[in-house]
């Protein structure tokens, strides 16, 4: 009985896909290298001369090194990836061709075998010329099968060698001092909530100590508020409370939690909400970046309203002065606009946060309570007491004959 046709292995993957990855890796590497160069110039005080500028330079000192290492990873990977893509393309074609030849020849062999069986069944012997001709044709097909198998093995071996060579080069690039530690990888694998709490707690100290202090105070109050919710209303669970506690360890602000809760959620044109999957830690970081963006926008807006040449240093090329007139009117109008837009955005935020599930809803609610708490903090400091108003002196009535209007 003829064995069934066995399909030869074809090289898997996509040369086009690998080339796209190589292009993206090269572009990202160039951007990281550019950013590292820019940060080196900033560190050297190119734009900011003064005590704050020096502090800025010190705080940014390690960033270029990390970016430089990352750029080395990305830029170094582009060439071996392109080389792999070329080999993948060539050997994928070769294995495909040999697999097709093998399948065709094997199919023809099986067909010839069926015809031989039919002739033998009709009474002919193996020595009959018709049967002998079919056997010779079978031998030719079998030779093709063997050649195809040999060619397929060789193509697979060439690709495997190139794959291993690329893997060795890339693995060497990954062996640097920004690689994730084994401890970090272990913590990451401990599940979604544990992952978020664990790796957030391992992050370095925040750069701006003053805001970190305020953030830590606010988070403390917020965690207590969550505890109150749990004890008073039976909402959530102790495990859920860990989200707030982990964010507290990071020093994430309430605003960052609120923005993080809505990160990855997009309001569609039809009013629905599309959600992407993000871990708790990534959401907190996305919220921190979004908060920083909004504050930068506010700082920029302050600068944008200044007219030309209005400040002392404007005479020397510095920033200009804001118009002094009607500032109060503008501020009131801006306040009303802000209140309206906040009301609308709060409704949208709530929908976006709810779309991400229970975790994002908890983050959002924790963020709102933390933000309210941190705003209330300065008020908890008792204001300086005003001196008690002195009681008016009650003078005795003037003696007879004296004027009551005598001055002092």
């Amino acid at each position: 009985m003829t064995p069934p046709v066995r399909r030869l292995r074809v090289v898997e993957g996509s040369a086009g896909g690998v080339r796209l990855v190589a292009d993206a890796v090269a572009a990202t590497g160039r951007r990281l290298a550019d950013a590292a160069g820019t940060l080196v110039r900033l560190r050297e005080g190119a734009v900011w001369d003064g005590p704050a500028g020096e502090a800025f330079g010190q705080r940014i000192a390690s960033a270029p090194a990390v970016l430089d290492r990352a750029a080395r990873r990305f830029l170094g990977a582009a060439a071996p990836l392109r080389e792999l893509a070329d080999v993948l393309e060539a050997e994928q074609l070769a294995t495909q061709r040999t697999a097709d030849e093998h399948a065709d020849a094997w199919g023809a062999y099986v067909l010839l075998e069926d015809r031989v069986a039919a002739l033998l069944g009709a009474g002919l012997t193996q020595a009959a010329p018709e049967v002998a001709a079919l056997r010779r044709a079978q031998q030719e097909e079998m030779a093709t099968v063997l050649r195809a198998e040999e060619g397929n093995r060789a193509a697979l071996a060439r690709f495997d060698a190139a794959d291993a060579r690329c893997a060795r080069t890339v693995a060497a690039l990954a062996d640097d001092d920004i690689a994730d530690s084994a401890l970090y990888r272990g913590v990451r694998g401990a599940g979604s909530l544990g992952h978020g709490v664990g790796y957030l707690a391992m992050l370095p100290t925040r750069v701006a100590p003053q805001s970190a202090l305020l953030g830590a105070l606010g988070e403390g109050v917020g965690t207590l508020a969550d505890t109150g919710l749990l004890l008073g209303y039976g909402e959530g669970s102790w495990a859920e409370l860990g989200v707030g506690a982990g964010a507290w360890a990071l020093g994430a602000s309430g605003q960052a939690l609120r923005k993080g809760a809505t990160a990855g959620s997009v309001l569609r044109a039809d009013g629905g909400v599309a959600v992407s999957s993000m871990s708790a830690g990534e959401r907190v970081l996305a919220g921190t970046v979004a908060t920083a963006r909004s504050r930068v926008r506010r700082a920029r807006a302050r600068y944008a309203h200044l007219p030309e040449r209005g400040t002392p240093s404007a005479l020397l090329g510095g920033p200009p002065l804001p118009p002094s007139g009607s500032a109060l009117t503008r501020a009131r109008a801006a306040g009303a606009r802000l209140a309206r837009s906040r009301l609308a955005s709060a409704r949208t935020e709530l929908r976006l946060a709810a779309a991400g599930g229970r975790q994002t809803s908890r983050m959002y609610l924790a963020g709102v309570s933390l933000q309210a708490s941190s705003k209330a903090l300065p008020v908890t400091v008792p204001p300086r007491r005003r001196p008690p108003r002195s009681r008016p002196l009650s003078l005795p009535p003037p003696p007879p004959g004296c004027s009551a209007t005598v001055g002092w």
């Binding site: 090289v11 898997e12 993957g13 896909g17 690998v18 796209l20 990855v21 990202t28 951007r31 900033l42 734009v47 900011w48 001369d49 003064g50 500028g53 800025f56 705080r59 940014i60 990390v66 990352a70 990873r73 990977a77 792999l84 993948l88 690709f159 794959d163 291993a164 690329c166 893997a167 890339v170 693995a171 990954a174 690689a179 994730d180 970090y184 992050l203 925040r206 750069v207 701006a208 805001s211 996305a286 921190t288 970046v289 920083a292 504050r295 930068v296 700082a299 920029r300 302050r302 600068y303 200044l306 209005g310 400040t311 002392p312 240093s313 404007a314 510095g318 920033p319 002065l321 002094s324």
Partner: protein, 96 residues
């Protein structure tokens, strides 16, 4: 005595650029999504490790840059306010 030589707008723009860079680092995609292109061989795993195996440093740097950029932008805004207040006082008005 401290001396200052500050271009407030540049400091603001530096802050914005740092926040942008921090945001880009924070939102770098998951390299596992492109693993299929490499097939089942060791190169795909190595590339995934290379591109994704510095996550701790990446996210830490992203956060540091976002916070530092925010601080720089706030500082730039504060310099603008100081300039404006000083100019106002020099023009005869009260300072804030």
């Amino acid at each position: 005595m401290a001396t200052y030589r500050v271009d407030a707008q540049t400091v603001l723009e530096v802050g914005a650029a740092l926040v942008d860079l921090g945001g880009a680092l924070a939102s770098m995609g998951d390299p596992h999504a492109d693993r299929w292109a490499f097939g089942p061989g060791p190169a795909g795993a190595a590339v995934e490790e290379l591109l994704g195996g510095w996550r701790h440093a990446r996210l830490g740097l992203a956060e540091a840059l976002a916070v530092l950029g925010e601080a720089a932008a706030e500082a730039g805004g504060a310099y603008v306010d100081t300039e404006a207040g000083l100019a106002h006082s020099l023009h005869g008005g009260p300072t804030a």
